[in-house]
Amino acid sequence: MRKSKMEKGRITGFIFENIFRLSSILSIVALLVILGYIVYAGAPAMFEVGLRDFLGGLEWRPTKGLFGILPMIVGSIGATLGAILVGVPIGILTAVFLAEVAPEWLARIVRPAVELLAGIPSVIYGFFGLLVIIPIIHSIFGNGGDSMLAAIIILSIMILPTIITITETSLRAVPRSYKEGALALGASHIQTIFQVMIPAARSGILSGVVLGIGRAIGETMAVILVIGNSIKMPSSILDRGRTMTANIALEMSYAAGLHQRMLFATGVILLVFIMILNFILLKLTQERKTR
């Protein structure tokens, strides 16, 4: 009697174990199929056009056989970098405020608000940019308002939740003794935060930043609506530009032949960027674990 019950338990265990295993395999398979397909569809075209003309070319005129994506690489990196420059300091300071400075009742209001920010669909951010940010930029600088600057502003808001949440968590994970030690040595609260807590939480904060970069570089819909999508190399943040993601999304619907495959090739480059970021992230988390 007892034995058969155990037997039964073992069988159910076996079944469930395999269901779990299957589920996890599914996601790996999905990843591999996506990676494989993008590379399969894009890589040959990349060499057909020539890597130099593709990565170094300044002109994107698919109907003329010109497939230079350098302006878009610059657009993607520029918009992301700008968003990081604006978003990271604000994010870190907000996290410090939430973790160390704010009274609990206030943190209880701010924290859900930040989390809600993360839940807003990107197209809504784009719409907000189109209707609010762009007219403001236009009224100050002219030229229509669609610009790298508009994209930077929108993206820096979009990456805030990631940075704030992760930074706050890692600040809270700093051992209490660090803080107490610093205070006991006579450091002020602010000195303790900036010279002890933040350095101690460094790798966690950096992970947040890397995740923020990932979000900014991959963002598509919000960017398309505000950046202007011009194919010209942007030379200032008031110029219009185009990101790699925008390029793919904009043109995929009508593209055919080599043009379509070159859009996949743009995707390959984007993937390379994302993979590098993930690799950095992996290293950072490793560092955090070993400490």
């Binding site: 399969y40 229509g144 999508n229 011009s230 010209k232 032949g257 043009h259 992996l282």
Partner: protein, 302 residues
């Protein structure tokens, strides 16, 4: 950890290898694929309907070759024709461009050629019969507050090329012109560039704001006082102001009469006697169902 990473990388490599061995030469050859309109794209795979023919059922295959702008419409017509009218006929649509379509109709490799432009002088020698499926018209639009009413086609070309950059140069106020264009590959953009001579020596300026779709162009122009853009006719409304081109207002009548310049005919070309299947397909064009499909594609019927 790093071992797992190695395994993952190895897996990726294996998958890539498998894909790579698939002979990249056999890539989807997307030129032959229907452009992604909401069309029922099952043209090819729907062959072999029930073999019980209605008494007069036609059989055969029609090869239609040519303009990428015309092919979405023809694909939809073909799908409807094969489903409802003559299930025995198979229609194969290849969108490779107007010039190739004219040539294919001329040398007989296509039963029907498609062209989204008038027949050129040197092509007249081929002796093709032209059938106008409809007209495609594009309106040049500006912000409603703009004082400019009328532009010559040369001015339009120069504005879009970035040579004229201020409205004061064409009789408007002193303000920089913001050019709004469509994404590359868009049929409307292709047609506009072709008709305004922006497709060869002169190109649309790289500073142009690129909006995805007619609706987005309209929104851009409607929200920016100093902008100029172009739209498919059916998208016109009071949020934007259409400009006269060479003094001619954009309207279906003017387009049909050929006096409005930014328009083009969608032509079907055949050579010599039409086969029964082709004749039946042509006949089908004058049915209400076909007219609805054509008008749904924003074409102006003759």
């Amino acid at each position: 950890m790093s071992k797992k990473l190695t395994v993952l990388v190895a897996l990726i490599l294996v998958v890539l290898l498998v894909f790579a061995c698939n002979k990249p030469a056999e890539t989807p050859a997307p030129t032959q694929e229907p452009t992604p309109t909401p069309a029922p794209a099952e043209t090819a795979s729907e062959e072999e309907p029930e073999e019980e023919p209605q008494e007069t059922a036609l059989t055969g295959k029609i090869v239609v070759v040519g303009s990428t702008s015309v092919s979405p419409t023809i694909e939809m017509l073909a799908a409807d024709f094969m489903e409802r009218v003559e299930p025995g006929v198979t229609i194969e649509v290849q969108s490779v461009g107007s010039s190739a379509g004219v040539k294919a109709a001329g040398d007989g490799t296509a039963d029907i050629g498609m062209a989204s432009r008038g027949i050129k002088e040197e092509e007249k020698a081929l002796g093709l019969d032209e059938y106008v499926l409809g007209f495609d018209g594009i309106a040049v639009v500006a912000h409603p507050s703009n004082e400019v009413e009328d532009l010559t086609s040369e001015q339009i070309q120069k504005i879009f090329a970035g040579e004229i950059t201020n409205w004061s140069e064409v009789g408007g106020k002193d303000a920089d012109i913001i050019v709004v264009s469509r994404e590359e590959g868009s049929g409307t953009r292709g047609a506009f560039e072709e008709l305004m001579d922006l497709d060869e020596d002169v190109l649309v300026t790289d500073e142009a704001v690129i909006a995805e779709g007619n609706g987005a162009v309209k929104a851009q122009v409607a929200s920016k006082e100093d902008s100029i853009g172009y739209l498919s006719l059916s998208y016109l409304d009071e949020t934007v102001k259409e400009l006269k081109v060479d003094g001619v207002e954009v309207s279906p009548e003017n387009i049909k009469a050929g006096s409005y310049k930014v328009s083009r005919p969608f032509l079907l070309l055949t050579k010599g006697e039409k086969s029964e299947a082709v004749a039946a397909f042509y006949e089908y064009f004058s049915t209400d169902e076909a007219k609805n499909i054509i008008e749904d594609q924003h074409l102006i019927l003759q």
